[in-house]
């Protein structure tokens, strides 16, 4: 089956789920999962296709969330404009910060991105006058679409999932273009790609910027959906969660990651009784995935071409 056909089927399925299920708790859970899918799809482009790790993605989500909320609450800018500006600013920040960072390799890259994420986290946590610090920040208005206010779980569900699918489609198109082939070359043999005239560094910076774009967009939408943001939602733990989802889903595999992300972001909500054990589960999943199934769930979806 073609990737895009399968994507369309999935889209119809999620819409059907939205029509059948009326329970706001479940719809809310699935909408949150959609936001995570956006971040993880972006990270997948970076980690799965270009083979570059980022341990600071939660920081970029925070960037999108805080810039857009601050613009809209403090300056009274229209939410959509605020989101647009925030995503643009975050992506620009990603490009600037990515330029020197992506010259680094392996654990240097991991630590540098981790440090960037931590820096954003620390600033957000401590700049109390502006961000509210650990107390969080609220007062964001509801999003509205052509005069149609997204004020309950059902409406947001039908807004966020099409957006998510659009973004997945975008990333599939990106990967299957001439760009995508360059990334495959970079991932398998960087020097060879370089020798064939691929500007390895610029390609890496570009894909990093795209993944920051995804992360900050998800962050901004999250902020306006929940109406409250606090630094604790954008820490190292979340960055690692995103990595877990990409790895278990099978790096570079859109659908494996799609399902893994939904499962891993819904499960903790259902299994609240084992909340304390969740880090262990995550850790063991990572170890297990690296030792036994380095390709994650890729094989499960190998029939989608």
């Amino acid at each position: 089956m073609k990737k895009k056909t399968f994507l369309l089927l999935l889209f119809i399925l999620t819409m059907a789920v939205g029509i059948v299920i009326k329970n706001p708790f479940i719809l809310n859970m699935l909408s949150m999962a959609a936001l995570t899918v956006i971040v993880v799809t972006g990270l997948n482009l970076l980690l799965g296709f270009a083979g570059q790790i980022s341990l600071g993605h939660a920081g970029f989500v925070a960037l999108g969330a805080y810039i857009s909320s601050l613009l809209s609450v403090k300056l009274g800018i229209n939410p959509w404009v605020a989101i647009f500006v925030a995503v643009l600013a975050s992506s620009l920040f990603g490009a600037i910060i990515g330029y020197p960072t992506l010259k680094l390799k392996s654990h240097y890259l991991a630590m540098a991105t981790l440090a960037i994420g931590e820096i954003i986290h620390i600033v957000v946590n401590n700049y109390v006058e502006l961000t509210g610090g650990p107390q969080g920040f609220s007062g964001m208005p509801m999003l509205s679409l052509f005069g149609f206010v997204l004020d309950n779980e059902t409406k947001f569900y039908f807004f966020i999932w099409p957006v998510t699918f659009l973004l997945i489609l975008l990333s599939i198109n990106l990967v299957e273009s001439r760009f995508g082939r360059a990334y495959k070359a970079i991932k398998s043999k960087e020097n060879a790609a370089y020798a064939f005239g691929v500007n390895v560094h610029m390609y890496k910076v570009f894909i990093f910027t795209v993944s920051v774009f995804y992360a900050s967009l998800a962050g901004a939408l999250y902020a306006f959906y929940i109406g409250f943001i606090s630094p604790s939602s954008f820490g190292l733990t979340q960055s690692i969660d995103y990595i877990v989802m990409v790895v278990i889903g099978g790096m570079g595999n859109f659908f494996g990651i799609f399902f893994t992300t939904i499962i891993l972001s819904v499960l903790p909500n259902i299994l609240t009784s084992i909340e304390d054990y969740w880090p262990i589960v995550n850790g063991l999943l990572l170890i297990f995935a690296m030792m036994v199934i380095p390709n994650g769930m890729k094989r499960l979806f190998s029939w989608i071409k």
């Binding site: 790790i53 020197p100 440090a115 170890i287």
Partner: protein, 247 residues
């Protein structure tokens, strides 16, 4: 973190400090060896990326287990010496700080001696430079890696145990120390122990100064800022001994 926790548990059994220090460091280095045996050595076609991801997994697992087995609270550990402060040149130091500095110097000297003067230390350096070439010379690379895991576990545990009376013991105390340790290595240059020592000093002093002159809530920021600056400007570190790959 494990070092500090185990030491805390042993001290609660009213074991003497020296003994509990030794036991906790030994136990942790055994755990490190076990981790290497069970996970790292068993990983098929390990790339650097997969090993990074795997060690992240291992560290969150250990944190999770300790968080449940012990608890998530911060526990105080009493200082090693009975008197709380010493004065030197009119400056008063807390006795535990003196112990920390002293043990750092001793460890740095021992490591230097081991890596430069003994055969097994030289072998370890050879493996770190080029493991394939080392293997061709008949060196058991797996064994060397395992012993380097044991040594780093031992030192890490000692550090955790020595710093415990200052910082309190908690299930997630290790993250910041680990990160700043890495930052110190980056600043000093990897594969260079003296450089790491100086890097740690630079970062520590910069942190304290920023806490004094700017704001104490931003002091953690400084370590990362310095690390990123060094990575961007001179990725091989200030006192580099080997090159960091850069395109």
């Amino acid at each position: 973190m494990l070092g500090g926790i185990i030491e805390f548990l042993l001290l609660k059994q009213s074991l003497p400090i020296g003994l509990s220090l030794l036991i906790s460091a030994t136990v942790v280095s055994l755990i490190a060896v076990l981790i290497h045996r069970l996970f790292i050595a068993k990983t098929k076609n390990a790339t650097e990326l997969s090993l990074i991801i795997m060690t992240i997994g291992i560290s969150i697992t250990i944190r999770g287990i300790v968080g449940i087995l012990v608890d998530k609270n911060a526990h105080p550990v009493k200082p090693f010496l009975s008197f709380s402060s010493v004065s030197l040149f009119n400056l008063v130091f807390s006795s535990q700080y003196v112990i920390v500095i002293f043990s750092t110097l001793v460890l740095a000297f021992l490591l230097y001696f081991y890596l430069k003067k003994t055969l097994s230390g030289k072998i370890m350096q050879a493996v770190s430079m080029n493991s394939l070439a080392a293997r061709l010379f008949g060196i058991d690379v797996g064994l060397v890696q395992m012993s380097s895991f044991a040594i780093s576990g031992f030192i890490g545990a000692l550090a955790g145990a020595v710093i415990a009376p200052i910082s309190f013991v908690q299930y997630d105390m290790g993250i910041m120390f680990g990160l700043k340790g890495f930052a110190a290595c980056v600043v000093g240059g990897f594969g260079n122990n003296n450089g790491a020592l100086i890097g740690g000093l630079i970062i520590g002093v910069a942190e304290s100064l920023s806490a004094g002159y700017i704001s104490s809530s931003y002091k953690d920021l400084i370590a990362f800022l310095i690390m990123i600056l060094v990575l961007f400007v001179k990725p091989s570190g200030l006192f580099a001994s080997k090159d960091v790959e850069r395109i």
